[in-house]
Amino acid sequence: MEVVQPEDKKKKVLIIEDESPMLRALSDTFTRAGFGVLEARDGSTALGIALNQKPDIILLDIILPVMDGLTFLKKLREDAAYGKDVPVVLLTNLSADREAINKAITEGNPAYYLVKTEWTIRDIVEKVKERLGMAAA
């Protein structure tokens, strides 16, 4: 399913994930699916990359070093020019049953809240494409 597209036309996805094996699986798959992939392993670095490079969509883990995902989301939404509206997919292994997470979901308005174990990578890619209005592969 390798899709080759010119660099400038590629949709950019920022994957924020501190677990290397998972980051690699996601990164490889999205690259193969024709995305331009940006990577970050902590929330603070991710925020810099996001505001600089303005990816089209962000995959966000919650438990992260330096700055956790929920704080990242809050700070991102404070940026009126870009961060306020960029779609964010929360991709985590935390169940959405904790107050803090519920609050962040309500306030941070993510596109999706996906629990990693419940999703195949293929479906995650589909969800991202769907959100970006891309034709299904």
């Binding site: 677990e19 990693k116 195949t120």
Partner: protein, 685 residues
């Protein structure tokens, strides 16, 4: 009477054995001697010359001895009675023997019935005992002995038949008075009582004063001291106020001593020609005197015992009250009770400590001006909606615990708050005398600070969350990497390799499912499973759930047919729990259904509740397994063969979750035909 016979026989038998002891012989001799001496003293008052005394003290001695030391002392009575009859009254030998036998058996019979029927034990403890003593000891026993003695004397010609009645009456009156005045005195003297630890000097003073005053009153009443003249009878009433004083203040001891003093003084006075009874013929005077003594002694005895009974009852009530109060006071829970108008009538130490509102500021005031109750969000609960108000107005019982959401908080005096577990229940009083039947007379409000419990629950729930995250991370990594290999994106794989990798993928999925179920179970069991009640669109929820099962339906080639009743009411429940319930039940139905079959999902209203019906045409549950299917980790025999991946937690989770949202589940199943599950939910959980 058989038992009387037996007990007399036993006592005779026991006596026979004890005859051998010196101690026993001494007791017999001493008692017999006392008996004779008392009789001789009494005969000094035989002014009528009929060989009867005004008071036969030996009768009282005999009764008291049998009561205190047992039937075995009967020979002393026999000997004493014989000696008195034969030597002091000069009765013929046979008459003396019969009189002695009659007297002895009359005393034994009296004491037997007293013990047996009245359960009299050595002292006057109850009114029943006092009346019993008067009846069996002072009346029945003496009637028997007087009758035997008079009949014996008449048969022997000692007295004429003509005199039998009057002789019998004076004999009986003397005996009865002896029993009434002397026996209680002796019983009181010999009563075993704990030595008082401390007697107040005032009480000793009052005792001596009472003794002196009572004696003085007796002197002026019966010996015409201080210028009183003989007669009239009415003067004898003078001693009653003083008799009541000694009796009420000094109980049975005061009563028997006063009766004894009154008897002694009145006999002495009357004999020496003084007092209210020394009028007219001597015979008449003495009978009047005897009646006076009997009524004095009887009245004092009954009065003393009823006062003692009353005092004991009051003490018991007080002890119980003190005990209850001490219990409520030392209990760790805050206890606050109000009366029917909501005023605080009980406020214990724990409540004081927790609320930091002093008791003096709480007692007697309305509960809502003292207790400030808030909900989770810090909003005050309105007075009419407070559990205590509802308990008062509607008799409603209210309970909130550590898992109750939203929680309740009390405010301390300084305005800070603490979470509470609260139980509020109406106090009912059933009073048949006043005709109140189950009337609410107040409210009991019991609470406990659950700050620590809440923190513990929080910690537990964090632990479960973190643990689940930690376990899921490697699982999702395995799952994704296996998926990438299977997709061929990382290079072509052989058919055999594909099978192996697929097995890894499937096992990972199974592990993920098991982990999810275990987490649900532990959350439910720890009571940290969050329930959020909201209005739920049942049809939409069902359809969403079915959509999620698309992959499984395709894989198994099974169809779901839905049958939703029109106009289903909006239902207030926890959507997440409901989805898990439906999803688990549908998954089971699909997994155990043959290919190309259908599973029916219906939703309708049934008996005022919402009913979900999930029916399949699958394997069915064997009858012997049906009672266990909701048990943790249980799997039916055929289910294990059909689906090796199941973990036996699904139905347990379903049932537990339903319990949390007020639902119930039942089923009907036939092996080979299929299973139908019925889930019933309240319209508002």
């Amino acid at each position: 009477m058989a038992s009387l016979y037996r007990s007399i026989r036993n006592s005779l038998w026991n006596s026979r054995k004890q005859l051998l002891t010196w101690k026993y012989l001494v007791q017999i001799v001493v008692l017999a001697a006392l008996y004779v001496l008392a009789a001789r003293y009494g005969l000094r008052f035989d002014y009528a010359g009929g060989l009867t005394a005004l008071v036969w003290a030996q009768t009282g001695i005999a009764l008291a001895a049998l009561i205190l030391f047992g039937y075995r002392l009967w020979p002393a009575i026999l000997i004493g009675s014989f000696l008195v009859s034969y030597f002091d009254r000069d009765l013929p030998l046979m008459v003396s023997v019969v009189t002695a036998l009659g007297t002895t058996s009359a005393r034994v019979i009296g004491v037997y019935f007293l013990r047996r029927l009245v359960e009299f034990r050595k002292s006057f403890e109850s009114l029943r005992g006092a009346f019993g003593f008067i009846f069996w000891g002072a009346i029945v026993s003496t009637l028997i002995s007087a009758a035997v003695a008079v009949v014996a004397q008449a048969s022997a010609g000692v007295i004429s038949i003509h005199d039998m009645w009057s002789a019998g009456l004076s004999w009986w009156l003397g005996d009865a008075l002896g029993a009434l005045i002397i026996a209680p005195l002796l019983l009181v003297i010999f009563k075993r009582r704990p030595l008082p630890k401390h007697i107040r000097p005032a009480r000793i003073f009052e005792g001596i004063l009472a003794l002196i005053v009572f004696s003085l009153v007796c002197l002026l009443t019966f010996y015409d001291y201080f210028g009183f003249v003989s007669g009239p009878y009415a003067r004898s009433f003078l001693i009653f106020p003083f008799l009541i004083w000694t009796t009420v203040r000094f109980g049975i001891e005061g009563a028997v001593v006063s009766s004894f003093l009154a008897a002694t003084f009145s006999m002495g006075g009357t004999a020496s020609g003084h007092g209210p009874f020394s009028v007219g013929l001597l015979d008449t005077s003495f009978v009047l005197l005897q009646i006076f003594m009997a009524s004095t002694a009887g009245t004092a005895l009954i009065l003393a015992v009823s006062f003692a009974e009353r005092r004991r009852a009051i003490r018991e009530v007080f002890e119980q009250k003190n005990k209850d109060e001490a219990l409520l006071e030392s209990i760790g829970e805050g206890v606050i009770a109000t009366d029917v108008s909501g005023d605080i009538v009980l406020y214990n130490k724990a409540a004081e400590d927790m609320l930091q509102i002093p008791r003096s500021e709480a007692m007697g005031r309305r509960f809502d001006s003292v207790l400030r109750l808030e909900n989770e969000d810090g909003a005050m609960i309105r007075p009419l909606e407070r559990p205590l108000s509802l308990a008062l107005s509607a008799g409603k019982v209210f309970r909130s615990s550590t898992t109750t959401t939203p929680g309740y908080y009390y405010l301390r005096k300084d305005g800070s708050r603490f979470p509470i577990a609260l139980t509020v229940s109406p106090i009912y009083m059933k009073d048949e005398v006043l005709g109140l039947v189950n009337e609410v007379i107040g409210v009991a409000n019991v609470f406990r600070d659950i700050t620590i419990d809440k923190e513990t629950d929080q910690a537990k729930s964090e632990f479960v969350s973190i643990a689940s995250h930690q376990l899921r991370t490697p699982l999702s990594t395995m799952k994704w990497h296996a998926e990438i290999l299977l997709s061929g994106d990382a290079g072509a794989i052989t058919g055999e390799q594909r099978e192996y990798i697929a097995e890894i993928y499937r096992s990972t999925e199974r592990m993920i499912k098991l982990l999810g179920d275990l987490l649900s179970v532990s959350r439910i069991e720890m009571g940290v499973f969050p329930i959020e009640l909201a209005t739920v669109d049942l049809v939409q929820t069902a359809n969403e759930t079915i959509r999620d099962l698309g992959a499984l339906l395709n894989e198994r080639g099974v169809k779901i047919e839905t049958h939703y009743a029109a106009d289903l009411p909006k239902t207030k429940t926890d959507k997440k729990s409901l989805r898990i319930v439906i999803q688990n039940l549908l998954t089971n139905s699909i997994k155990y259904s043959p290919a190309k079959s259908t599973v029916d999902l219906s939703i309708d209203e049934h008996e005022g509740r919402i009913r979900f019906t999930i029916a399949d045409h699958g394997a069915g549950i064997p009858a012997e397994d049906q009672k266990n299917i909701f048990s943790k980790f249980f799997r039916a025999e055929n289910a294990r063969n059909l689906d090796t991946d199941g973990n036996g937690l699904g139905l347990y989770i379903v049932k537990s979750m339903l319990e949390h949202i007020g639902g119930t589940i039942s089923f009907a199943s036939t092996v080979g035909k299929g299973t139908t599950f019925y889930v019933s939910l309240p319209k508002s959980s």
